[in-house]
Every structure is written in structure tokens, then in C-alpha cells.
């Protein structure tokens, strides 16, 4: 069994997201250490992309700040290699297809394995295009994580059957960002997922409060939070890690 599956199975997982290099790499590393110390079960690390079309304004801003700060894919790899000396929870990358493609998929996934990355989320690689990277990701044992959306309908079973690591269930239409309300019938989606796979599923997009996290954790195996964390980074900059630690603790406690 792989590490992601083990980390998420039979528990309620809290999965924080952070854009690497916003405002700088040292802050990202300190923030991830705080996340893990305060109960994060898996951490999603964003490799910045110039044009993140699946992101709302908050994470778009983080991508821009990180790139303006001089982040590159190689610097993200260096940060993760360094981080791996201190953390054991699964780490997954979240980025866009062109970042992987331009680096050279073989070289990219080999590097992921070398530094201890466990999976990757590519929001612009749907089921039909997963062969772009599937063979190479499997060669290096990196889970290519699939997403299911509120519009997936007849596609849910097909995606679930082939899922690796965990399934990322997109809670709402639109892009990432905090929402006051989530109206999608997630129970129905999760039911179809369960009928087709025993891979754990985590819900993301729009979740920011402990109440929402608790509600979502009753439906799925895990809760993913991004924009709320990025807002703390934007507000507190290099001083953000301790605030992020406190926030992760609050969220993790809510879903236990």
C-alpha cells in the first residue's frame, strides 16, 4: 500500500495547501513545519505557474508573488528535499501541466521520487489526458491524483475506478477560493465513489471555517484548505507560519 493511501485511510485527514515561495522559500518551509506539527496529515505544495486558470484571485496572487520573488521549479525541489529531512507525512505537488511538460516529464518525476514527493495534482489534466504523464508517474511511484467536479455526473465512476492516492472532490463550481456556502450534493458524489473504489476521498474548494471542515469531514475522508491559508500569508508575510500553525490546529480539532 502506498503512503498517501495509508495516511488517509480510516481517519479524517486535514490537508493544507501552500504556494511555494510566497513570500519566500524560508517562510514556506517554516509554514509547512508548523502545519505538520499541528496535525496536517498530508501537505499540498503548489509549484507556481504564471497563469493558474483553476485558481481564484487569492491563490493567483500567491503565484504572482512567488514568481516575482524568483521562485523556480528547481528551487521548489530544493525546498522539498530540505523539508524531507524533518517531515514524514505525504507531500504532494499541485501545479499545472506546462510546468511538468516543460521541465521534461521523465526528469520531473525522477526528481519527485528523489526528493520524496508522493503524488501530484494537475488541475488541467482531466481523465482523458492522463496518459500524458501516467506511465512516467507510475514508473517513479508518484500518484497522479484525479479530480471529480460537481459536473462530473456520469464520469464519476470512470474516474474513481482508475484513481490513485486519493480522490480530490471539488466542492463547488468555479475556481478555488473561500465560499460562505457549499450547495453541491456531495453525499451523492461520494456514494458513487465508494461504490467504485476504496481510495480515500478529500473535499476541497471553498472551505475555510472549522464548521465547514467538520461538515465536509462527515461526508469524506479528508478536507483540503488552500485560500484561507494563503490569506494568512498575504496578511502576515514572513510572520505567517505561527498563525498558520494555530489555524491548522483549529481546523484539525474541528474534524476529529
Amino acid at each position: 500500500m502506498n503512503k498517501i493511501y495509508e495516511a488517509l485511510k480510516n481517519k479524517k485527514a486535514f490537508i493544507p495547501f501552500i504556494t511555494c515561495g510566497d513570500p519566500d522559500v524560508a517562510t514556506t518551509k517554516a509554514a509547512i513545519l508548523e502545519m505538520v506539527k499541528n496535525g496536517a496529515d498530508l501537505v499540498e505544495i503548489g509549484i507556481p505557474f504564471s497563469d493558474p486558470t483553476a485558481e481564484g484571485v487569492v491563490i493567483q496572487g500567491a503565484n504572482i508573488r512567488a514568481l516575482e520573488g524568483g521562485i523556480t521549479t528547481d528551487k521548489v525541489f530544493d525546498m522539498v528535499a530540505d523539508l524531507r529531512k524533518e517531515v514524514t507525512v505525504p507531500l504532494v505537488f499541485m501545479t499545472y501541466a506546462n510546468v511538468v511538460f516543460s521541465y521534461g516529464p521523465e526528469k520531473f518525476f525522477a526528481k519527485c521520487k528523489e526528493i520524496g514527493i508522493d503524488g501530484i495534482i494537475l488541475p488541467d489534466i482531466p481523465f482523458e489526458e492522463r496518459n500524458e504523464f501516467l506511465d512516467i508517474s507510475e514508473k517513479y511511484n508518484i500518484d497522479l491524483i484525479s479530480l471529480i467536479a460537481p459536473t462530473s455526473d456520469d464520469r464519476i465512476a470512470m474516474i474513481a475506478k482508475e484513481a490513485k492516492g486519493f480522490l480530490y472532490i471539488v466542492s463547488s463550481l468555479g475556481v478555488t477560493g473561500t465560499r460562505s456556502e457549499i450547495t453541491t450534493d456531495l453525499n451523492s458524489i461520494v456514494k458513487i465513489v465508494r461504490e467504485n473504489t476504496d481510495i480515500p476521498c478529500a473535499i476541497g474548494f471553498g472551505i475555510s471555517t472549522p464548521e465547514q471542515a467538520k461538515e465536509m469531514s462527515q461526508i469524506a475522508d479528508g478536507v483540503i484548505v488552500g485560500s484561507a491559508i494563503i490569506k494568512l500569508l498575504k496578511q502576515y508575510k514572513t510572520k505567517a507560519p505561527s498563525y498558520i500553525g494555530a489555524y491548522v490546529k483549529e481546523m484539525k480539532d474541528a474534524i476529529l
Binding site: 505557474f49 504564471s50 497563469d51 486558470t53 483553476a54 481564484g56 484571485v57 493567483q60 504572482i64 514568481l67 523556480t72 521549479t73 528547481d74 499545472y96 501541466a97 506546462n98 510546468v99 511538468v100 511538460f101 516543460s102 521541465y103 488541475p123 488541467d124 489534466i125 482531466p126 481523465f127 482523458e128 489526458e129 500524458e132 484525479s146 479530480l147 471529480i148 467536479a149 460537481p150 459536473t151 462530473s152 455526473d153 456520469d154 464520469r155 474516474i159 471539488v170 463550481l173 468555479g174 475556481v175
Partner: protein, 396 residues
């Protein structure tokens, strides 16, 4: 030219969020149904002819031909179609298709504003709601078109992310589409984005080359030696090329915006300077850095100021069926002035890129050879900006 997965060689595909997958699958099904539906085609042809003014003229540019002293030059006058550019061909097709699919709202991106104006026009005609995303930078460069879209009843949303130009307008329109799919069709303006858009837009624009072929055979009794068109995303170019692809003796030449030159960073000449990548739903050539970050491209022409190119053009380049040449700002402005003075036709600055290349090659060709240049749009929208480029203090 496409297989079932929407590939042109290695290019094309559907690199989009899962949220949009069923929407593009539904669109593909609807398109495959209606493209062969006699009633749909009858309605579309009526709109293209009686509303948009097709067929557009193929005009023999006698003075220009004599002045350049080489090949005979014909101009395909897309600038004379309703709304002043070829964009209307695609928009009428997509709007009619969207209406048949039960959609009540059109969203679109626009660079120079021509596609936005065309979409706003079709929405007004068909009683649909319309929202156009336009880079803030372009709303300033093309202020008149912003007013036109509002006059036609559309909402124009200035896009302030990224480079505030066409690329960002496309990203924002895609984001909007993921948030509202049920009643909304994304009326993409060029032969780009995820399958089936490159095929749909090409088919709706192919009327240009279909007409050129009929018109040139009638006037000259033979096919042209070269067809020239400007290329941003590449919709007027693919429309101009499509029915000549099998005619191997017809040279197909796309004219890219080189901006300040292909050896500078201020360029938008994708095929000449870009490399293979995945962005905006497709695999194709893109201007990007070594880590795959999309480059902030530049051109005087808002309509060509895009870091990618449609996948079928990338394929035509790969198989060497078409060639793609860079044309600088200076060359296009010179051609803009030249055609205005020589023929009394003010071309869009986008189209002037194709005119500029004809000015380079025509003198070296024989007098019995023929060049067709697609004048994709009219230049009224560009007059103030070109005047300022030439140092005049003119504001709209």
C-alpha cells in the same frame, strides 16, 4: 484533419479542469449533430449572407500590383463584413449552435475587441445575454470597441490579472465558464483552446477559403500561388488556408506579430520563438521561459498579442504545409499606411502584418503569379493608436 480526440499531430487535446469536461463533450455532440443538419445550415447561411454580408469580395488591388511590380495581388475583403472583421463568421455559427443547445448566455474573451463586438452583436440579434472579458490594457488601447460592446448590450469586464491582455482575458473567461455552465456557452474567438473549439471555429471560418477558391477560379481560371493571412490564435488564417491545404502548389503563409523583433523579448511570434507546451486547454507552441512560465508577449496589435497559436497551425508548421513569418510593428505600420494610401483601404493593424509580407515577396514574383491577402478586419479601431505610434497627439 482531426482524429476523434481532437488532435492535429501531437497538438490539440483537452487540457482543462474536470469541471468543464462534460460541457465540452456536450458541445462536441451538439456540433456533430448540427453541422450536418440542413435546417441549421440554412439558418446559418441566411445570417452569413443577409445579415453579415457574405460572400465578401475578392478585390484585385491593381495599383498595389503595379507599384510592387511583381505578382498580381488580390485582397479578400473580410473587413467589409458586418462588424468589420472575419470574427462574425465564427460568432454567428457558435451563437446559433448555443441557442440550439438551449443556452441563453454567451461569454467571450477579446483582444482588439473585434471578437467581443461580434459576440455582442450576435447576442443582441439572438436575444442572448453577453459578457465579454477584455484585458484592462486592451480596454485602453481599444476604447471605441468597449463602447460598441456596451452599446450592443454586453457587459465588458476589464481583466486586471497577469499582463492585462488577451491571454488573461482567455484565462478569466475560462474561469467564468467553470463557475456557470448550465446556461452559458463560451464563445471562443479563435482556433484555440480545448477540443472541439479549434475544429468548430475552423469550420465556421473555412467559408473564407471556400469563397476565395470560387472567386479566384472565376476571375483568373487558376488557383493562387500564395495565400497570406495574419496569425494570432489563427482563426482568419486557418479560414483562409483550409480549402487550399490539399492544393500543394498553393503556398500558405501565416504572418506572426514580431513586435519589436524576434530577437527581443517584446514579441508575440509564437511559432518563430516559442516551444511546445500545454496551456489554455491545448498542446501547441507557446512563448514561455525555461520553466514553462508563459511569457508576457508584446505586439502593437492587440489582436495578435497572444503567447500561443492554434494547434492546427502548429501541425501545418510541423508538416511544413504552411510557413509562418515574423512581421515587426514597424513593418506592419508601414503596410497600414501603404494600403491606405495605395488602395484607399485602411486595414486592421492585425491584417497589415499580412500586407507587409506581401510587400516583401510580391516584387520578387512573376507577373503571372497570384497572391491573395486576407484583410481580416478594418482599421478604424487602430487609427488613434497608430497616430500616437507615429508621434501624433491624437486621442479618441
Amino acid at each position: 484533419m482531426t482524429d476523434i480526440k481532437g488532435r492535429f499531430g501531437v497538438h490539440g487535446g483537452q487540457y482543462i479542469p474536470e469541471t468543464l469536461m462534460n460541457a465540452v463533450i456536450e458541445l462536441e455532440k451538439a456540433y456533430n449533430h448540427y453541422k450536418n443538419d440542413p435546417e441549421f445550415n440554412k439558418e446559418l447561411n441566411y445570417l452569413l449572407n443577409d445579415y453579415a454580408g457574405r460572400p465578401s469580395k475578392l478585390y484585385f488591388a491593381k495599383k498595389m500590383t503595379e507599384d510592387l511590380g511583381g505578382a498580381k495581388i488580390y485582397l479578400k475583403r473580410e473587413d467589409l463584413t458586418h462588424t468589420g472583421a472575419h470574427k462574425i463568421n465564427n460568432v454567428l455559427g457558435q451563437a446559433l449552435l448555443a441557442k440550439k443547445m438551449g443556452k441563453t448566455r454567451l461569454i467571450a474573451e477579446t483582444g482588439a475587441g473585434q471578437h467581443g463586438v461580434a459576440t455582442a452583436t450576435a447576442a443582441a440579434l439572438m436575444g442572448m445575454e453577453c459578457v465579454v472579458f477584455m484585458g484592462e490594457e486592451d480596454t485602453i488601447r481599444q476604447a471605441l470597441n468597449v463602447y460598441k460592446m456596451r452599446l450592443l448590450g454586453a457587459t465588458v469586464i476589464p481583466v486586471t490579472s497577469g499582463t492585462k491582455t488577451l491571454k488573461d482575458a482567455v484565462s478569466e473567461a475560462m474561469r467564468e465558464w467553470t463557475s456557470r455552465i448550465d446556461d452559458t456557452h463560451y464563445c471562443l474567438g479563435s482556433v484555440m483552446g480545448p477540443h472541439p473549439f479549434p475544429t468548430i471555429v475552423r469550420d465556421f471560418q473555412a467559408v473564407i477559403s471556400k469563397e476565395i477558391k470560387e472567386q479566384i477560379l472565376e476571375k483568373e481560371g487558376k488557383l493562387p500561388d500564395a495565400v497570406l493571412a495574419c496569425v494570432g490564435g489563427g482563426s482568419n488564417a486557418i479560414g483562409s488556408f483550409y480549402n487550399f491545404i490539399e492544393d500543394k502548389d498553393v503556398a500558405l503563409i501565416g504572418c506572426e506579430a514580431a513586435g519589436k523583433g524576434i530577437h527581443t523579448f517584446e514579441t508575440a511570434a509564437t511559432i518563430n520563438t516559442g516551444k511546445l507546451g500545454i496551456f489554455h486547454g491545448m498542446k501547441s507552441y507557446f512563448c514561455q521561459d525555461e520553466y514553462g512560465q508563459i511569457a508576457p508577449v508584446y505586439s502593437i496589435s492587440a489582436g495578435l498579442d497572444y503567447p500561443g497559436v492554434g494547434p492546427e497551425h502548429s501541425y501545418l508548421h510541423d508538416i511544413k504545409r504552411a510557413s509562418y513569418v515574423p512581421i515587426t510593428d514597424d513593418e506592419s505600420v508601414e503596410a497600414f499606411e501603404y494600403l491606405s494610401k495605395m488602395e484607399g483601404i485602411i486595414p486592421a493593424i492585425e491584417s497589415a502584418h499580412a500586407v507587409a509580407h506581401a510587400m516583401k515577396i510580391a516584387p520578387n514574383m512573376n507577373k503571372d503569379q497570384i497572391i491573395v491577402i486576407t484583410i481580416s478586419g478594418r482599421g478604424d479601431k487602430d487609427c488613434a493608436a497608430i497616430a500616437r505610434y507615429k508621434g501624433e497627439d491624437l486621442h479618441e
